[in-house]
Amino acid sequence: MRRWRYRPLQAAAVAALAALMTACAAFAPLYYRAMQQALTDITLSGATVIDTSVQLSMTPGDEFYDAGPLPQPEQLADQLPAAYRSDFHEPILGYAANAGVLPGGLTDPYGDLIWRSGQCDHLSFTDGACPAGPGEIAVSAADVKTFGLDVGSSVRIAGGTNQNGSSSVARLKVVGVYEQQVSDYWFGQSLTGRSGVVISTGAPAPPQHDVWITSRDSFDNALVDARSSSAGYLIDDDAVGVDELLALGPAVDDLAHRRPDVGVTPVKVVSGLPDLAHGVQEQIDQSRVTVPLLMAQLCLLAIVVLWLVLLAITEQRRPEVALARLRGRGRRGARRLLLDELLPITLLAVVPGALLAVLAAWVVPKVLLPGSVRFELGWPFLAALLASAVVLTGVTVVAVTRVAREPVERLLRRVPPRSTGWALGATDAIVIAGAGGIVVVFATGGLDGPIALAAPGLLAIVVGLVLAHLTTPTAALYGRRQLRRGRVRVGVSMLDAARSPATRRIIAIVTLASALAVFSADALIVGQRNRATAAAQQAGAPRVLDVDSNDLADIRAVLADIDPEGDELTPVVRVHPPGDDAPDTLAVIASSFRKIALFPGGGPSDALWDKLAPPDAEPIDITGTELDIDADDSTLTSKRVDNKLTPVTLGLDLVNQSGETLHTTLGTFASASAHRHFHHLVSCSEGCHVTGVWTSTLPGATIEGAVTLRNLTARSDTSPAQVVPLGPAEQWTKFYTRETGHVSPSSTTPDELTVTFQGQGVSPMTMQQRWLPTVVPALVAGPLPPGGSGNQFTLTGLDGGVQPAAKVGSLDRVPASEPNTFVTDLESLQRGRSVLATDRVQVWFGDDDPALLDQVTDALSDRGIAVAQTTTLRDIKRSYDESAAAWSLQLAALVGTVALLIALLVLVVSAVSGWRFRTRDFAALRMSGVPIRSIRSVAVAAQFPAVLVGVTAGALSGLFGAQLAMPIVPLFASAPEVSTLDLSAAWGAVVLAVVLSLVVLGAGSVIIGRALASRAELRRLRETL
């Protein structure tokens, strides 16, 4: 104790470093464990009750017709090995039976009759009470209303089987009307919602009733025959941690695959626990290296610092060691002298180190991890403490032995012999060669795996040591040169720095610490950035709402009402063609989609978006229920393959507001005619577009001739006749192929349209109106499908049909879409096509604004459109952030901060361990008449350049090391389907880390320098002790 009191700051510094090293080592397993528990907690809390429970059931009829007696629920419950039952609440036992009301007519409902243990606690009764005796049932309020099953009423159903094999009739009396309480108790089963519902495949069928509840006695007394028995285990969240979950996964899996020893029918096991356990195990495996390696670098830094500090401290004790040797104590005695002082400090520091680790493991998870993380001190923690103690002992013994082994002659020198030349010491050379070799192998791709996380640290060690060795002679050289030039202050500062062994120490450590700080900051932000971009890619927009409707017109009308400019809302239709590999088509309104959709890394240019624009042509609109048209000067003829004439049918394609095409036949031409008038009823009361003129004939027959259409008139009972001009010819798209022939428009006035057909056996032949796109432009992510020609290809249209398309640009990625996706203009795709029920119609929000969501939801609801689901960027990002990979990287912030603190501690320790010598030097300068201000400058300048050099070298090492390490650092629990990986340096974080390093360490060195200068009193020159 007295020795520690003599040099309290040194003792405190050593203790602090040893405690820090212990804390780093012991914190890693604690945090790793806390992370596992948090992962387990969010996995279990985010899963459905079906996934987190184990349901055992046996329904003999499912597998075998006659499989013996149905086991009791208790027997099923026993199938779960006893060792795992403590992970669950008491099993919920159950029976189920068919309850078809006799006599079984078309008005007699059928459904399930069940009993569950503890059921009365999970039902509310609006009338009557919970069934308690045999034959008593409780029914739903809907059944009361639908079937008149009031309390007191009774029904008859098929009952238990007699000994002679015939079924009896069971009379069930309604004793209560229940309401199901929402809870996990029911394993997600809904008891109601079926009352009165008829399920029919065509033939008349009776209605269903809701689930009826009865007591166990109904089954035990054989009043009814149980169809199945069941036992359900609800997981006990408080009892199940990561160990339990990981054990449960295989156990439940095993249970599902082995034949039970009750009866011969396999027990049906329903549980998602094996999958959950597998997912957790995968994430744990992923983080197994990240956490220890990050903390190991910190440990390494702490050990290196402790080693250097111990070297400095033992160096300072050379006179004491010399004294011990002069008193005949030998090397062993000298070593003991130092160990007696230093070893207790380092070993006792394990205790505060352990406490620090525990405190950090208590605080850090609260900040970084979700939920309330349980705190555990397991054997890895104790092993880490033991390992720390061993390492601390080793480091201390080696450092002490180094001095104790020196010859007395060297120990007695007032100034210890020290190399100030350019040559490297053997140890440094080995460390530099070893660490440098590993870094080179990393850089050349010779090594792989998470161990690459050590690259920044190793690189910094190499750079720091080399720089440290170069700096001392350089400073001496420079200092002498400055002195020769008469620049005393700079010269003395440089020589002071060159003379001090602390300079090398500071450069090496500051380089390493700054490298860790820069790498940590970079890794942290790169991780966050990549998770954010992956989430943005997956979400597509701040909020995406899937609507339960394919009425695109209504949906677009709602959106246009709320957001006419399309700044906040945009409709998107996702067409997924059959087949897993077929690319999706994403139909968007480019003008608003480009504002709302999230494009990590930048979206297409405006020019590219503009290429998606639909044909710039007005549609030919008609409104009415009756259509009239004149067909004049027809020369249309058709010849069969036997060269005989056959009639030609003429028609129009009309597209209603829903995009449905009305293939309307006008009439038939057997031969040329001068004038024909056609009148038809059409379903265009809401308006239709005239999208095509077509002719058809017998398959294989040719068509030739022309016809002039004019006086197209639409009318209805409520709207007057409206003459719609079909011309001019420019409104129509000429159709021509070598194989099929051509259809071409011409017109003499804008009101009429002459269509010339020359078909070579293809029927029908259609000429489309220009408003209808023939080939839609598309932006393409991924390769074009096979079978295309140049940029031409086909995609699946909204109606599921083939839509010719042309690639007008490429995209790296399409938001919220698979890697191979086509983006087209919704307006283009919508023209002439209706939306299939299998298409996903979505509304993308530019902002995750609950008020806007309510507004849209309400407006859609007013039109009878339900919302199927909503996905938010925030939720997806949270799912990425709440992963072991993310939590592991969060530690980087801690590592960077602690690294800087350790470096600061080194500055303090260096000052503390050599302050007597340095202040004596400064006192000598004062004695020589150097003013205190100059001495202060000299004191500050002696350390600050070393810090500056160290921070600069460290920043470069950290940056370069990050480039080596980041590709191997797991950023996600599982890689996103569409990669948005961007591992470029996070310059903001890097700059911040460098500035912080400079501020913390620079300010530290300045303060220390000034403090030393202030102690440069003349009495120091007379100090002997």
Partner: protein, 289 residues
């Protein structure tokens, strides 16, 4: 300040050196600190090594303590040839027989111990070797430190610190005490006190004492002084008289005051007088030699 006390050679060790040479080598330079020192110190003697700075006094002391190994020549302490002793034997010698007092009291004391604890520490190795030693308090009392025995070193005066250093050096009851400038940086009264205690121990315990000094007053206090000059024994003083010492190879270093009057190249001859004394006669030299 003279003493006429005769040293008792009871437990003291005889010290002798033969043609002792020591060369310092550093970064390509070689400096001969000692170039053939022949020295004989009897058991129980108290001898002072004098000489100007850089003459090799401290080097000689370190060689006698076994801290340095000589470049050439031999060192005997008692029956042991230090220059050929193994490291273990040297440790044993330092534990039991030879004590070295370094220049500056602080360098001889563990700073966090009291004088008493320092003495205990200094006795440790000897005690483990089975040597019977007096109680540490007695050791301190022998140098006059009683009240100060348990006080922190920082509270002691320079004189007391030096006495504590002396006590520590004498703690294992060595046969040879080597002291490098034990009275430097001390005021006269403290210096006299330290010398007096050292002399007392020399007399009472018979310890051979070799101390380095360049203080004429200290030299005058000592019964025998040996002057080291240019790495050789340049003279000897006994009871206040200065003598030149003829080396084994017949050289006779001239005393400094004589050398000042004899320029290099001066021819001298020795003239044997009738009373048996030699007279140094300077011969005149003509210009052409």
């Amino acid at each position: 300040m003279k003493t006429t006390a005769t040293p008792r050679a009871t437990t003291g060790l005889r010290v002798s050196t033969q043609r002792l040479v020591h060369i310092y080598r550093s970064e390509g330079h070689e400096v001969a600190a000692l170039s053939g020192v022949d020295l004989e110190v009897g058991a129980g003697e108290m001898v002072g090594l004098l000489g100007p700075s850089g003459a090799g006094k401290s080097t000689l002391l370190s060689l006698l303590a076994g801290v340095f190994r000589p470049s050439a020549g031999k060192v005997f302490v008692g029956q042991t040839e230090l220059s050929a002793a193994s490291p273990n034997r040297l440790d044993e010698m330092r534990a039991l027989e030879v004590s070295l007092m370094l220049q500056g009291a602080g360098r001889n004391l563990l700073p966090y111990f009291t004088p008493l604890e320092n003495v205990e520490f200094a006795q440790g190795a000897a005690r483990r070797a089975g040597k019977e030693l007096p109680d540490p308090a007695e050791v301190l009392a022998a140098v006059g430190l009683v009240a100060e025995a348990g006080r922190p070193l920082g509270e002691l005066s320079p004189g007391h610190l030096q006495l504590a250093a002396l006590a520590v050096a004498m703690a294992p009851r060595p046969g040879l005490l080597l002291a490098d400038e034990p009275t430097s940086q001390l005021e006269h009264s403290a210096r006299d006190l330290v010398l007096e205690r050292m002399s007392l121990l020399n007399r009472e315990l018979g310890t051979t004492v070799v101390l380095v000094t360049h203080d004429p007053d200290v030299a005058a206090f000592l019964p025998r002084t040996i002057t080291i000059r240019d790495g050789r024994v340049g003279g000897e003083g006994r009871s206040g008289e200065e003598y030149a010492v003829v080396t084994p190879d017949g050289f006779l270093p001239l005393p400094l005051h004589v050398r000042e009057n004899l320029l290099p190249g001066t021819l001298v001859r020795f003239h044997l007088g009738e009373d048996g004394t030699y007279t140094l006669v300077q011969e005149a030299r003509d210009a052409d030699g």
